[in-house]
Symmetry: D2
Subunit: 437 residues, 4 copies
């Protein structure tokens, strides 16, 4: 392969909201300062290697539709390297300096574990070279523990001890290469950790195994000096009928039970959030108030569809809510925004890959700008402050300090009579919020 | 009111599966022994006072449809006592000796808290008299913290400190009367604990308040010597857009975070389970393996409907799965099966109340009988045992003991090569299961 | 009752997007011309009497929360008239000149049908007086055939012939008073027309009855010279488990089967659309391309909630899609936008009623402005035109004319070889669309 | 390939409910007479070639898991023939004499349409030989218009005229071979007929094209003397975001609009039914009362999962409801029950294919036996008869004949006063129903 992968596509520049150029940013201006930080430091965008370079357009009822010019139809190491080069050209043109990968996306599976590891080493060394002289680094790495049939009953929760061992070996290696490439986080997405039916499942035993596995991962990470954050990515179902990391609260419950709460944060994916019955904002806030907001998989689903559609998020209101959590969290570094999103199956032009990312980046940037407007206006936070003002009293403070028992409360209730209850002002809050969009 | 409330209805008897008599049990035979216990001791049925005696048939688009002959159209204390008498006649005819109530179901709300408490005392004293000489006792009591407009923003999580105090006073009193009546459990269902929109909500502060409230409840319970179990009843939404006790895992996460895990168990409701995206069996098993299966609200929803329909459970397969969890748990005493279920709005004959309960009781009884068949057959548990056999080895035991690190696992994985993975045998498991129905 | 109902609230004016005044329009400028029509002529807003003046804040788990100062706690005729006066002051201040009502919202039910009719006549005569000298008229009237227990099994589809007759009498009267008040449409929402369980239902017979009922309504409308449009309002479920008018396509299928297609149009409600598994835009387009887009109930639901939340629509993207259908339809007169939406239960300030409507009106107005931008830009419609260009050929035209048989098509397919298939450009379409927001 | 495909598996026999043999029927006794017909004539089972012989266990996150011993890893014609032989051995051992196929399942796609047709001819000729001397025939054939990337925008509704022609050629051929093999029906499942986004779609034009396509299919069928029934298979979504044949009512509406109603019946799939928000029983009844119940794809979904899981139906209550519709319809010949169901991905034993089918067949058979019990008992149909008795009067008959206008109805309503409304007896109906299980 000679020359550029994306010959007609220039480096994408910021041209402002009035631009009609599809290949330009209208809202994302990397070095512009918003709320005290550069946009790129709030947003820390990352390209998902699997969707962008391994997505084929195949679905359960359809064959692949994407035939990128640089693909030669093989799953060889040379093809893996060529794809990696395309990835770097893509990031450079887009102006994004983070990427995310599964071990098996970037390098072909071998006939044995040793061979797979050797393949991975070769491609990783090549990626390392490409990284040199650039600021590009992995946002995170992860091990693909769901594609191979050996993982059909789970990886850490497989009923077969040999699979548990194999998964451990794969995670060990994936942490190593993430560390080697300067990755800042490592993600666990347990696509097969869960059950298809409780009729054949010992749920307690499987969860115990998962805890042992995570404990060993923590120990190994420390042993090799990898300081990146370990992240669990909740998802309710698909591919497994019921996954153990259903949502943020379920994942936190698991971590608490097994004494792992301090060692992990969460990678919240918007589409996973809505599939679990929550808004994305809910999941982000649940993670945030538990000190566990580690990373965001920036995508969206379809409100009428019951599976993961992994679309690029283009809803401006939604993006503003996401950024509200991020700003309240003071940013999410060393985490970032990984575009775990894919082109629609019918989008088959090379250009479409750029359009999709530009759209996704602009939407998040617009969300950030809207949050700045909300913060400057101040009336939304003032509305919340007032709502809880009755607890900002001496008695309120005592309650919050855990010093007030039921007898005292009953006495107060008798003394006070029927409490006055103010309007929740939801319509006003929504009006203020929408005015910032 | 003179004489019987249910004049044409005899004491309901067991007549066996071939009976065509709608007013007879075909499967529930209270004193018959199954799996080492009497059916009534496995099942510990309870009548839900609110649905059975306060349900009106009203819905968001429709006026009440039930005009029971004993109702006089008032919400007076004398009417409250008359209803309580009807409740006891109903239980006696049905052969059920437990009941559940909210404070405000059984006695009218007064103009002040003191008046409400006095009303409650009068009705409770009357109920105590009715209990005398019978084995009938409350399975549990609870405080109704969702109906009155003062609770529109929550009770323990209200933004108004006066409401927090009022709720505490109400719970204090409800625990006292439950204790006085010999109740075995006390339930918290936080219908209004949650949010309508995050735009006007400080979720962290509200959850902190809820934890303080529960802590005070634990202290008060101990202070007055009430040994009943405290139970949280998870529900995802409705009436509140998003409730804090979303499901079993979320509730456990909350209890763990605030150091309350040992003090509470869960009251799992099947319809709430399915609304949260899980099967009822999943929620029961989640509670069970965390030592938190305290009680079951035996009802069901409609798989195509997105709100709580509170129907009597008549699905035999579902009932068998529920009983499987109960039998694995060794029973759920001091908890039981509360029929948190209501007649359809269009069912307006007094007789229908009996038919609904008989159907619900027979279904659970049939479930228990099916579990006995499964246990005797043994092939389902054997299928599970075999599935995990590779962990019943020395190396498996070491993993389970937390002694095996990633390096050792990698060595094993290299040594073993590609692991063999057996069929999950789901279709066989389902065949065995269905054969027992 | 003396003086103003809304004393602190001025006439709501347009102040433009930069205004921070919650009691002003930022986007709705009634007389401004957009795409060749005044905004008020595109939008034809209507106040829903039931939500705005009869909504209590009650829900299945909670008592009413709204205590408007003009309410005296009775359901008397004098109270009915006072409410009607409040309605007219509200519309005047808001600058809206259409309203919608059910017969039983505006006047109290009597002990007999004759008495109910007399009550209705009295209140309607009063409304007629209030209308005089204003441009205010009903957008539509309708009969409330779901609240009273007599309708628990349905109205036109009730199993009881007496209920069928009663419903007919009620619809007859409601058409008469709508006609008398100068209403432009008449709506049928069959909240109870459907089934709770198929086990006790003869679906075919019930649908036949419904068709007979509608036929009689058509005849009566013509007989009395009412030229308004008859509208069916699809809804999938709630209150009835399964309603017969599930969605637009189902309603059209019913109308076609019984030869009623030319006599009815559809009233599409956005929240009903999403509950039936479709987007609101889908339902609008389905109605539009079948020549049946008659009216819009402008509201929205919650994507994570499975029942009708009837919220004011504040999503700008959604509003733009709605207006896209309306503009393509050349407007929807004599239909309009009825705010079938209610305050949240916790919104208890009189001011909140205004805020909610202003928000709803501004959102639709913003949607209209966005459509104008899309039309002026033209690139979205150009994208669609190009996509189907291969049918804008001679052969395409022959296919569309129904002149091409399978043999000819096979010959062409053989001749042409593998067809070229272009990218669907969904991401580009979304980028163009979002740029207009 | 020499010898048997399923060497350890005997011909499956009926052994009755007490049998513990997984490889035996407990409820399906082909020649036993139930309700006046042999079980095999009510049930008319069919094996779905695609799931049973082409299902790989792959899913969107996972590689294939099934490695049947007879597969050689190629998609050659010789492999196609070997699979077809396996299919016939399978049917023979199972005792099923119908099968269903897509053109591209049974024979490999060629490089050109001509080559694909030739491949198909060769395999079809081979299947014809295998059929000889047996009673085995296709229940139906169909054309696979969703897998190949050319169909990514639809087949009959593609934006490209070349694809429309290609699809027509493919359907033409598929009808021919179905006819040649003695197939009794031909199915259209429009997996790609619909839209991904309305932003790039001309829905009216696409629907018009689909109508033209169906019209041409009807003409061609008649021309070649194929007397089989044409069937549309409704499905709401997946793979396409929104399919045009959403559910039974939507499909009927389309057929009515375009004058095709008499030419098509429906193939109702239970999993598709529930995904569209209806029960399977609802869809069957909707088809039945419109004279359009043509065939049943006997499978089931998971009530908590939002995509097509295509599981074998093992729920006895559900199966009984399905058979209730079938018996009311007097059977569904020339349609039947096609097992459009697949093994779970983790079920990898050859034996599992048999277990799954046996389970599915036994469940339907048990449903049929239960319907016989319900019919013999008669109390359920009596309950329905009584419910509508008020229409079995002279006045009721006049209403049903369309002779009663609103004035007459109003007069009656005034005369009769408040109508009496009886209990809906849902709990009794459910009790009767469950007693038959």
């Amino acid at each position: 392969w000679k020359g550029e992968f994306f010959p007609g596509i220039p480096k994408i520049k910021y041209e402002g909201p009035s631009s009609k150029n599809p290949l330009a940013y209208k809202w994302y201006n990397a070095d512009e300062e918003i709320l005290g930080k550069k946009m790129k430091d709030w947003l820390r965008f990352s390209v998902a290697f699997w969707h962008t370079f391994r997505g084929t357009g195949g679905d359960p009822f359809g064959a692949p539709t994407k035939y990128w010019p640089w693909e030669d139809g093989t799953n060889s190491i040379s093809m893996a390297k060529r794809r990696m080069s395309a990835n770097f050209e893509f990031m450079e043109k887009l102006g994004v300096d983070r990427w995310c990968f599964h071990d098996r996306d970037i390098a072909p599976d071998g006939k044995t574990l040793a061979e797979s590891n050797a393949n991975l080493d070769e491609v990783v060394a090549f990626a390392k070279e490409l990284q040199e002289g650039t600021g590009i680094r992995p946002l995170w790495g992860t091990a693909q523990l769901f594609m191979h049939p050996r993982y059909m009953h789970g990886a850490a929760t497989s009923s077969e001890v040999g699979v548990y061992a194999y998964a451990a070996a794969q995670v060990k290696k994936a942490i190593e290469v993430t560390h080697y490439l300067g990755g800042e986080n490592f993600v666990f997405w347990g696509g097969r950790e869960g059950y298809q039916t409780l009729l054949n499942t010992d749920m307690k035993r499987e969860l115990d195994h998962m805890a042992r596995f995570f404990q060993a991962a923590v120990e190994y990470k420390k042993k090799i000096g990898f300081n990146g954050t370990l992240l669990i990515e909740p998802k309710p179902q698909e591919p497994t009928k019921h996954q153990y990391d259903w949502d943020a609260a379920t994942s936190l419950s698991f971590l608490q039970k097994y004494g792992l709460a301090g060692e992990f944060k969460l990678n919240i994916e918007c589409n996973h959030a809505t599939l679990s019955g929550h808004s994305c904002h809910h999941e982000l806030e649940t993670a945030r108030i538990n000190g566990a907001l580690g990373n965001i998989d920036a995508n969206t689903g379809d409100p009428q569809i019951g599976w993961d559609t992994d679309q690029f998020l283009t809803d401006i209101g939604e993006a503003t809510l996401v950024m509200l959590s991020v700003v309240r969290n003071g940013g999410i570094a060393p985490g970032g925004f990984n575009f775990d999103a894919k082109l629609r199956r019918e989008s088959t032009d090379v250009e479409d890959i750029f359009l999709a990312h530009i759209s996704g980046m602009d939407t998040m940037a617009r969300g950030l700008r809207n949050v700045a407007k909300l913060m400057e206006d101040g009336s939304l936070s003032e509305l919340i402050r007032k709502r809880y003002a009755s607890f900002d009293t001496e008695f309120g403070a005592e309650i919050e300090a855990g010093k007030v028992d039921f007898e005292t409360l009953e006495k107060k209730a008798m003394e006070w009579g029927e409490p006055a209850v103010a309007s929740g002002k939801q319509e006003l809050a929504e009006m203020i919020f929408r005015s910032a969009l």
